[in-house]
């Protein structure tokens, strides 16, 4: 039986990483880190987790150490946030290209300058092209569940890709809330041993991450692309099996009160829970409004997403990041592109808000929805609307 505990989400993630019997944790433990790696350091020091804990001198080194570790076939975990993820950036590409099944939780935070440790999705969006699987969660339970699923997805020999679990910094990472922590036997039954097919072995030498001249580079990148797209099948299978074992089900696109809706609001991450309260209120007033959330950001769930919005009139997208000088929020611009080829597509209205930890309240979401519906009728000259800015 799972145990219901009141626990800080970061600590709970540390616990599930322990239950997953992780072999190696490498991390740079300084702000903007979270208690995730702090708790793991305690567990290793106290002998509760038999793992190698590698404290390094920077996030760049943390991810580099993870490369070496994962290449030996060791179950490998790290965590970071905000600026730390940025410093890892070049090594992120190496991890996915070398097909290394590393699991990393990211407590999403805004990027400098001005210096901010508060939450938004700028860090997550800046690494959307790095070839990692990216999954967004909304609360502590989802963070714990999906961290466990991430090991199984990453290490599946049909996938062999690194996975990022995105939870909002502070709003999820620092909150003490009820968490159902599974028993060791449940985790063992769900998560098989890591069976990396070509571990570094001095008796059977292999070359990894070798030179890729023009004659082979395109093929390597295409293989990577095909592989990442195909990983969706395994992700769906793992979520399905997780649901059977733990009775909590996850989907690439999650809908809340979408039945018969004319208008959908789209959010990602922890603000979705606040938005649900707004949806309940507006539904109570007879308005046909629902909420849609993209859980699986990479590989992008084109099919499920198109299916979810095919009958609606208006789609209002809230981004928590800016693509400066570009088409607006990264999520909305991808959604426009995903729907452009469709015959029946909704009016799409783009909002950017909730930057650098600014709250959007229940009333705030109502304002976004109402003004979004109005813009869908009247049109707007703006690429996007910025919500709540003081000018």
């Amino acid at each position: 039986m799972a145990q219901r505990v009141g626990m800080e989400v970061s600590v709970a993630i540390g616990e599930i990483v322990k239950l997953a019997n992780t072999d190696v944790v490498s991390a740079y433990p300084i702000t903007p880190q979270t208690h995730i790696v702090e708790h793991l350091a305690e567990l290793v020091a106290d002998g509760e987790l038999d793992a190698e804990y590698i404290p390094v001198e920077s996030e760049h080194s943390a991810m580099s150490a993870c490369l070496g570790s994962a290449a030996t076939g060791a179950r490998t975990f790290t965590a970071t946030a905000g600026q730390g993820l940025e410093l890892m950036h070049e090594v992120l590409y190496v991890a996915s290209s070398m097909r290394l099944p590393i699991v990393m939780t990211v407590a999403n935070r805004a990027l400098s300058s001005p210096l901010s440790v508060w939450s938004d999705h700028s860090d997550a969006m800046a690494c959307r092209d790095t070839g990692w699987i990216q999954i967004f969660v909304e609360n502590g339970q989802e963070a714990v569940d999906n961290t466990l699923c991430a090991f199984r997805i990453a290490e599946d020999n049909n996938v062999l890709l690194p996975v990022m679990i995105h939870l909002d910094g502070f709003h999820v990472s620092h909150v003490i809330e009820p968490i159902l922590l599974p028993e060791q036997s449940q985790v063992d039954a769900f998560l098989p041993k890591n069976n990396y097919p070509l571990p570094l072995d001095t008796d059977k030498p292999v070359a990894m991450g070798d030179f890729g001249p023009p004659v082979i580079y395109t093929e390597a990148k295409w293989a990577q692309e095909v592989n990442l797209r195909k990983s969706k099948e395994t992700i769906l299978k793992v979520w399905q099996e997780f649901g059977k074992s733990f009775s909590r089900y996850y989907k690439p696109v999650e809908c809340y009160r979408c039945e018969d809706a004319d208008t959908l609001l789209l959010t990602m991450g922890s603000y979705s829970e606040t938005a649900m309260t707004t949806i309940d209120k507006m539904r109570g007033e007879g308005k046909k409004i629902g909420l849609i959330r993209i859980r699986l950001w990479r590989p992008f769930p084109f099919e499920e997403f198109r299916q979810a919005v095919k009958d609606i009139k208006t789609l209002i997208v809230l981004d928590r990041a800016i693509s400066f000088g570009g088409p607006g929020g990264p999520v909305c611009s991808e959604i426009r592109s995903a729907l452009y080829s469709q015959n029946n597509r909704p009016e799409i209205v783009s909002f950017i808000g909730g930057l650098g930890g600014r709250d959007i309240t229940v009333a705030g979401f109502e304002e976004i929805i109402n003004s979004g519906m109005e813009i869908a009728e009247t049109g707007s000259d703006n690429e996007f609307e910025i919500f709540g800015v003081r000018e």
């Binding site: 009141g6 440790v117 502070f170 999820v172 003490i176 009820p178 829970e273």
Partner: protein
């Protein structure tokens, strides 16, 4: 209160006084009673000595969706008496809401500073903490006062979280909590 959502509590203290710890202990106690609860700090870099806030939400029936800071509390808890003059303690406090204040003063002293429209509970937590803990850290002492004045969780539900958090110091912290539970005075209740 329960129909309109969770009970919301805001704790005012100074960095290093254990406001966040006390919020966490109360939430853990509530969760152990099969309730839904959350606790978190005012988000941001931590600074020792600076005024800080910590938040608790408790809902007896359903999961809590809101993750923003508490701006319209049902209850405020003041760990540090010096904050009464420099922080807007009652900001957003609901009418008929409860103030739980660490003070050497009387009901009248507090009411002179604030409207009498709030329910008031007072305790000299600093003296209790000095006497039994040997230092003026009042977070666990103030939990006793909060529980006495509000009944939001059972006192016994706090014992296990206290033991887990404080280890060999748990017994002393339990003592200060019990003493303050006994000595806290709630206006209009004797």
């Amino acid at each position: 209160m329960e129909d309109s959502g969770p009970i919301e509590i805001r704790i005012h203290g100074r960095g290093g006084q254990g406001s966040v710890t006390s919020a966490g202990l109360v939430a853990q106690a509530a969760i152990s009673e099969d309730k839904y609860a959350q606790a978190f700090p005012s988000f941001g870099p931590e600074r020792r000595g600076a005024p800080v806030q910590a938040f608790i939400r408790i809902d007896n029936h359903k999961p809590i969706r809101v993750r923003a800071g508490v701006t319209k509390p049902d209850i405020v808890v003041v760990l540090d008496p010096s904050l009464l003059d420099i922080v807007d303690i009652t900001s957003g406090l609901k009418e008929g809401g409860l103030m739980v204040v660490n003070t050497k003063g009387s009901f009248k002293d507090i009411e002179e500073k604030f409207d009498a429209k709030y329910k008031l509970a007072i305790i000299d937590a600093t003296s209790i903490a000095r006497e039994l803990l040997g230092r003026p850290i009042v977070n666990t002492t103030m939990i006793g006062a909060l529980v006495k004045a509000s009944g939001i969780v059972k006192l016994e539900s706090l014992f296990q979280p206290l033991e887990k958090r404080f280890g060999r110091l748990a017994e002393k912290n339990k003592k200060v909590m019990l003493k303050s539970y006994t000595e806290t005075r709630v206006k209009g209740e004797g």
